[in-house]
Symmetry: C3
Subunit: 342 residues, 3 copies
């Protein structure tokens, strides 16, 4: 099972100091307004925050709600809101400060390398300071880096590589020959390296095209529960450094996803499509195969992208929800427009 973080209280002053240690250049250091000895024990939403709680407020409208609660400390964007809490951590990016504060308040438990006697590990697998739980399978020729966890029921196929400090959650499957970088997180039920969907019809039936490629995943990638990344047909499917993929996303064979791109839940990318760097693909967006999407593109949720995008921008194509009867009228009008010869 995954390692859940454990709570560790800090004072407001200690928190600021530890944030400074994370980035000596000082970009993560909020201005502290209030008593640095105030104890912070956990995080909360502004609405629920009480004694010992740290909350963040990115939107000034929420300050009104927060005033009702005696939070230990609030992370806010500017000098406003003195009335909201006696301790404020002021920074232009409260959500970012909050993310780092969460890590400091909830560090991972101490890592203990071990191989469960209930795991199945090939004799020639090289497991170097990692943790392998019961009912996990590690195939022949596998290498797992220091600090990585292979959780219960996870399968690491023959010849796969798992970098350092990775977490392969329970019941995830990493197929033969797949390569994961460092600090990769694969959530439960995800399948990395199943065969791409390649067939050719011979006039009578579909002939399977062996999928000879693999999947190459960079560093700092996270792939959500029940997501699938298929192995390439001839060359590899490639997921760049720092890519974040939500649950139930499908990446078909031979896709290349550029570094820093983020893909929300239920999205799908068909085969051989190349998505650039630092794109944001909304939930349930569907992207057809064999196209190219340039760096920095934003695709709205639910949008089907049917052609290459060459200019960064924000692209949308979803039918607006409406009252069912109104929709029937719209649909009828659309059908009529299709019956007219253009």
């Amino acid at each position: 099972m995954a390692r859940r973080p454990v709570s560790r209280p800090l004072t407001a002053g200690e928190l600021v100091e530890q944030l400074r240690a994370l980035d000596p250049a000082g970009r993560l250091v909020p201005e502290l307004d209030g008593d640095p000895a105030t104890s912070i024990e956990r995080v909360a939403t502004p609405e629920a925050a009480g004694t010992g709680d740290l909350a963040f407020i990115a939107d000034a409208r929420r300050l009104v709600e927060a005033r009702l609660r005696p939070a230990a400390a609030l992370i806010v964007t500017d000098g406003e809101g003195e009335w909201a809490s006696s301790v404020r951590l002021i920074h232009p990016k409260p959500r970012l400060i909050f993310a780092h504060a969460l890590d400091l308040l909830n560090p991972p438990p101490a890592f203990v390398a071990s191989i469960s006697p209930g795991a199945q590990v090939a004799p020639d697998a090289i497991i170097d300071g990692a943790r392998v739980e019961a009912f996990a399978t590690v195939g022949t020729g596998v290498r797992v880096g220091v600090g990585s966890m292979i959780c219960s029921g996870a399968v690491i196929g023959r010849g796969a590589r798992v970098g350092r400090d990775c977490v392969i959650h329970p019941n995830a499957t990493i197929a033969d020959g797949v390569v994961l970088g460092d600090r990769v997180i694969i959530h439960s039920g995800a399948v990395i390296g199943a065969d791409g969907f390649g067939f050719e019809h011979d006039g009578a039936r579909w002939v399977k095209i062996q999928q000879m490629g693999s999947v190459i995943i960079g560093d700092d990638v996270e792939i959500g529960a029940s997501s699938t990344v298929d192995r390439g047909a001839i060359e590899d499917t490639v997921i760049g450094d720092g890519v974040k993929i939500d649950d139930q996303v499908h990446i078909a064979h031979n896709c290349v996803i550029g570094a820093g791109t983020i893909i929300a839940g239920c999205a799908g990318v068909a085969g051989s499509t190349r998505i650039g760097r630092n794109c944001m693909i909304g939930g349930a967006a569907m992207i057809v195969g064999h196209i190219t999407i340039c760096d920095g593109t934003v695709v709205s949720g639910g949008t089907l992208v049917a052609a290459s995008i060459d200019e960064p921008g924000h692209y949308t194509g979803v039918f607006p929800t409406t009252d069912h009867r109104a929709w029937m009228r719209i649909a009828a009008a659309l059908r009529r427009s299709g019956q007219r010869k253009g």
Copy 2:
């Protein structure tokens, strides 16, 4: 593996008596027209029903088809159709009577509590009259209630709670700290409590926001195969009593799904959205994050809901399927309409 029901024949008279026992107020008691000694051995569709078979007919048009077959008994809505079968169970809700008759004709096998020697159960887990199969993992601090089954390959993470009479099907994953009520069914491949999708960009990369919440699931909830319910960021994701979720549905972090709501296959709900009670969400519907949908809302399949719904009703937004050439003309017209300045 799950416990499949076993068949047990009843006479028509016994069936009516046992339905009466289920609801002494009599709402489940059909009027029996025909020989109460007629033996009913199993259920069938009206088209396939034969001797020993019980079928239901909710739609009078199907009576014509049913007449062709000598079913043992038919559940029908009213006094019509005497010619269709010599034994009729007459009730205004035939499908409901059929559902209960199915349970009476096919009771679950006797439950035998046991922990397989091939399971991995933490010494401090409290398993109270439950059944744990081989290759199931039960983490430290877990409690499992009487009558529950943890099937092969299922994982119950540290500190999770499973109520009474639950079934966790093979290869399902319940992450650390998740709480399930009584009579909850989690199908194979489902993942409850994976990390919500929370990141904040620091100018160079996406910083993971630890997901500190959990998932709280009420009583009588069913969650389909390969569905995912993510743990909350700060507070919990909550699935109310009696919610039914089909396969391949994604519920993102911090959603609250009201009691009695039903969500069909391939639907997705983005983060922090609150869906009311007794809603019906169609298959492949996609609901954006941070909105509220009021009690009793019906969303058609395939619809993207992009804004809060404050009035109960039936909402739809799907592009009508059409001939491909007609569609190309519609699409061109739509694009032109977007080029005109509004």
Copy 3:
């Protein structure tokens, strides 16, 4: 874990001879233009091909790119392109020849039947020359045919049947009573035979309708990672011979999918729908329940099919992606059209 193919070099002449052996009628035999002793070691894309590599070119435009590389051999459609490679395999269907050449160059490793001592196999299961890996579960009454593999963590429920030469990939789940034909491939995370989504409201709550049917899968079927095929309510869900289903596809209860139909990733088919033979269903297409789609229908990706299709053809209904501002104008126009009384 799945058996990955192993590479075996052939000369161009041997390759042509082995293709001839596959189909004595000669339909798979390309014309060889060049030195038959040329060694072919592996496959590559035209862009990456080098010494020892075989590539195929279905599109003459790619010949220009291919000219830049000294591939060992090219499969091409006609007599053109002599300048592109000194060895050409000329055939009207280069991709089909490539598919077979791949198999010949990369045969599966020798199959060794064995049952891992780490597997859980019911004493009465009949496993006839198959391979069962660690942490696989095979229930009571199961039969597995010669040459089949049940990979790590896969579960075969009570009374299920697995034909000959099947591969059940790691962490796939085959529920009780499901029947698979010969040469069936079920990828990781797929769930075959979970309960269909059947409930009836009794005025207070949803009553589960026991799902009494099973899933019957024909020969030569492939089902992708994390896909789900639900068991039937009364009768069975049926997947015909030669059907190919991609990842993350959902087939609801009581569907019948005709032989030779192919369904791309993220598609969904709601309950009791019948899809004919030799259909092509695009990725993320959603098909409502209780309809019939005739043989030979093509549905574009992302299309929602809301009514039966009686005439073979190509059907589409997706909103065209566009610039976000243009989309807002289109959406406003559509909403206005719905407000007018038709």
